[in-house]
Amino acid sequence: MTTLPAHTEKKLGLAIDLDTCVGCHACVISCKEWNTSNYGAPLSDIDAYGAEPMGTFLNRVHTFEVKADGSNAQTVHFPKSCLHCEDAPCVTVCPTGASYKRSEDGIVLVNEVDCMGCGLCAWACPYGARELDKVEGVMKKCTLCVDRIYNKNIPEEDRVPSCVRTCPAGARHFGDFADPQSSVSKLAAERGGLVLMEAQGTKPVNRYLPPRPKADVTNTAQIDIPNPYLKPASSKPDGFLGWLDNALEKI
């Protein structure tokens, strides 16, 4: 059913830390690995070793440069997967009923058995979170690893999304945003979690934690940029030359 639930019991989603993400793309790879071999059709690659390799991914990492007037530019790595929007336009446009939002936890999914591959949901998503698989002809998107988070067959510490489990920097956090006491809600509150493209009215669940303010490296009076912690090198030679120097001075 492509009408949206009026209310979801939980709002499961990700808090993504733009301060700690190092842009290693490990989450991209682990997401692809998990999702190509589990829920739904595999994620195809086309011309993988050719001139224009293309493939389906549910998670991508962009890298931006941000620069304010008079300060240094700063690099921000920006992982992007489905934001599991509360007012998900991708769901309501779907003509077949393949796209839906779960009332129990708010996860937005595609039932591939019903999808006709019209691509309209990808048009409706402002964030580029849906990709039509070239080989299977059905729509693929982040499942919030629904087949991991409730999976009693895997160890408890693995019952989080694959991208979250993999991230070596701990930049992706998974939890319930409906619960104000959850770790992700607290993180978002403390760090001023960002909502992407708010004017689209999609009400994303995922939050982006903005980069923390950087030290002012342009103020050279405070910091010796090349060697902040080294003592100034002695101008006097040591060793044999030092002895010679001393001896000659004494003459």
Binding site: H62, K80, P95, T96, A122, A124, M197
Partner: protein, 291 residues
Amino acid sequence: MHPAPSVIIFTSLSGLGFGLMAWLGFGFPPVSGMIAFWFFLIAYVLAVGGLLASVFHLGNPKNSIKAFSQWRSSWLSREGIMAVVSLLVMAIYAIGLIFLEQRWQVVGWVGAAFSLITIYTTSMIYGQMKTVPRWNMSLTPPLFLLYALAGGALLAGQIFPAILLLVALTVLQYISWQIGDARFEQAHHTIETATGLGNLGKVRLLESPHSSPNYLLKEMVHIVGRKHAQKLRIISIVLLGIVPAVILVLVPFNHMLAGIAVLSHLVGLFVSRWLFFAEAEHVVGLYYDKR
């Protein structure tokens, strides 16, 4: 947006087909028998041909039957249902006219109304897309309806209404381009709002997430074709409205010239639909620093 031939043919031809059907339903021209057969054949070939072309846009067409199920929320689903209803109602009306020499005018009116509703639902597939500000405006439905009514009048041989509608269409298309050009800016979507990083400074893409294009870029960030957009707009508007209107006004009716007017309109229509897609900027391009 990628100007895929399947969607251009779909919106152009089915619009024309349902436009002609609306005129026939309202009883213009008041045909019956064999002549009615030919008119309805043209309308059905265009409408059904357009709908079939849209199937080529699907990755998994075997599920297309399911597209009739989500009319509560989906404009595409409503479009499919309305198209089938219009075709069925008009079939009853057509059978009466062609084989029984009966004019069931009420059925014709209902069929015509459904044909117009079908065109409206088609327009809303695009008009609802907040992600494409150029489409997401109140002018999109009237524009689609005017295209269908003007083209339909031309095909139905309704000379005087056709002239008026073609002139109106030319004006409305021009206005839509002018207003559409400003829509993206008015929607206030920038790479800064897309990333949420605006309060830290000016944002630009440093490294793309992938080294060659992906589905998103191929489908939604079509930039190459826009170079000649201005020239194509002029070509389109001249062929679409001005040439056919001038032919109809200046030359006493003859089939040869009417054919040229229709052909000119058709080419202009295809060019303008190509532009409708090629010029439409999707907000996802912002994540790639592209519009």
